[in-house]
């Protein structure tokens, strides 16, 4: 049923904007807590599965092949940003290099104790990056720099900022927002915002 008196903006939707989202030109910030300040020198990422683990710093990460992707990103707070350009290492490349085993789930954690869970297939079979540059520049701290995860096909809270640790396991373990009532998977096209969706 229509809302009395509401007409809305002129329509621009060309099939790229998921339901309930609207397009922004700026880049809003969503973080659970304060912005964490990690420098390139301090930053480290450990990938492990309980048996094997490997750590990367800025330099050893950049020894892996760097790729760039241009993707649309969707935040659960309803904004969508089209054609964002990220540069970094594909998660699939990283997992191969770290030589981790075959597991179904990943729990990603950040500096500042943020966590989020993502199925491994969503990290390796899709455009998912360990990103070190946004729009041709280093990533701002408030947007997750120096290094963040980017998983563009899921709501953006899955794209952990200041990524520090990726732990693979057989069991799915809810992360920070997922434990706070948000959806475990978070597909924007199916509007999986909250746990009951």
């Amino acid at each position: 049923m229509a809302t009395r008196g509401f007409t809305g903006r002129p329509r621009t939707d060309d099939g790229r904007v998921p339901p309930g989202q609207y397009v922004v030109d700026d880049f809003p910030v969503l973080t659970a807590g304060p912005t964490v300040g990690v420098t390139e020198q301090e930053w480290e990422l450990t990938v492990g599965d309980g048996n094997t683990s490997k750590s990367y710093d800025w330099k050893s990460l950049h020894a892996l092949p760097i790729e760039s992707i241009t993707v649309d990103i969707h935040c659960v707070t309803h904004w969508t940003k089209l054609d964002t350009e990220w540069e970094g290492v594909r998660v699939s490349t990283l997992f191969e290099d770290a030589d981790v085993g075959d597991y179904d789930f990943a729990l990603v954690s950040s500096y500042g104790d943020y966590t989020t869970n993502v199925p491994v297939s969503d990290l390796v079979d899709h455009d998912a990056l360990i990103a070190t540059r946004y729009d041709g520049e280093p990533i701002d701290a408030e947007h997750g720099g120096p290094v963040r995860l980017v998983v563009p096909h899921l709501y953006f809270w899955k794209s952990a900022k200041w990524v520090r640790h990726i732990r693979l396991a057989d069991e799915d373990e809810p992360g920070f927002w997922e434990a706070a009532g948000y959806h475990s998977y978070g597909d924007p096209w199916r509007e999986q915002r909250y746990y009951a969706d």
Partner: protein, 226 residues
């Protein structure tokens, strides 16, 4: 579905919308609603609005008109008494203050809001009992833009400091909420549960200044309005 039961013009650019919601369940202070508006051709727009009501009040939101805002200008200028709006919620489990948190980890409450970011903080001070020492720091552009002006002036148990960034006015602080103001608000006793809410730039500026002053950063929770 929510029916608009009452409208309160808070300032020339902000209004409170009180809803009548059948079977409304008590919410936690800090939670928000998602509002979905539908145009005659089926086009929909959804936005989040914090509940500004205390847990014992009828659900209400307080909306500030944003320039060219698709939804906020509709809510502030077009909505009338008796209209029905599609809502979802209350939602959100992180930026919340509950009596349970207060009893598991007793600490003072420090509420820091910019502009319409004061909305969820009202829900918090309405749910805090008088034995929780409460400090409210609020940043607004001018005296005319201060939301809940009378209620804040009459608040008996909280320390209230309102900063005006674009005007000097009797009884108000002049200028932004800076490190000095934050330092005084954090105090030297038990570190406070701290809630910072408002436009992104405000939340960023305040939390960056706050982090070195606050003995326990895990007690700082933020909500950015976009």
């Amino acid at each position: 579905m929510a029916t608009v039961a009452k409208l309160v013009e808070e300032t020339s650019s902000a209004r409170t919308i009180v809803f009548d919601v059948p079977q409304w369940k008590r919410h936690c202070a800090g939670q928000h609603l998602d509002l979905r508006l539908t145009a005659p051709d089926g086009y929909q727009a959804t936005r989040s609005y914090s509940l500004s009501s205390g847990p014992d009040e009828a659900p209400q939101i307080t909306v500030e008109r944003v320039d060219d805002g698709e939804v906020s200008s509709f809510l502030v200028d077009i909505v009338e008494d008796g209209d029905t709006l599609e809502i979802r919620g209350a939602v959100g489990g992180y930026f919340v203050w509950t009596p349970r948190l207060a009893s598991t980890r007793p600490a003072p409450l420090l509420l820091i809001g910019g502009g319409s970011g004061i909305a969820p903080l009202r829900a918090m001070w309405r749910s805090a009992t008088t034995n929780v020492p409460t400090t409210i720091l609020y940043s607004a552009q001018t005296h005319e833009r201060v939301i809940y002006r009378d209620e804040l002036a009459a608040h008996e148990s909280a320390t209230v400091k309102i900063h005006l960034t674009r005007q000097e006015h009797d009884g108000y602080e002049t200028g932004r909420i800076d490190s000095r103001a934050l330092n005084a608000a954090v105090g030297t006793g038990t570190p406070p549960h701290t809630y910072v809410c408002g436009p992104t730039a405000f939340v960023e500026a305040v939390t960056q200044a706050l982090m070195p002053l606050h003995p326990d950063a895990s007690m700082i929770r933020t909500e950015r309005f976009g």
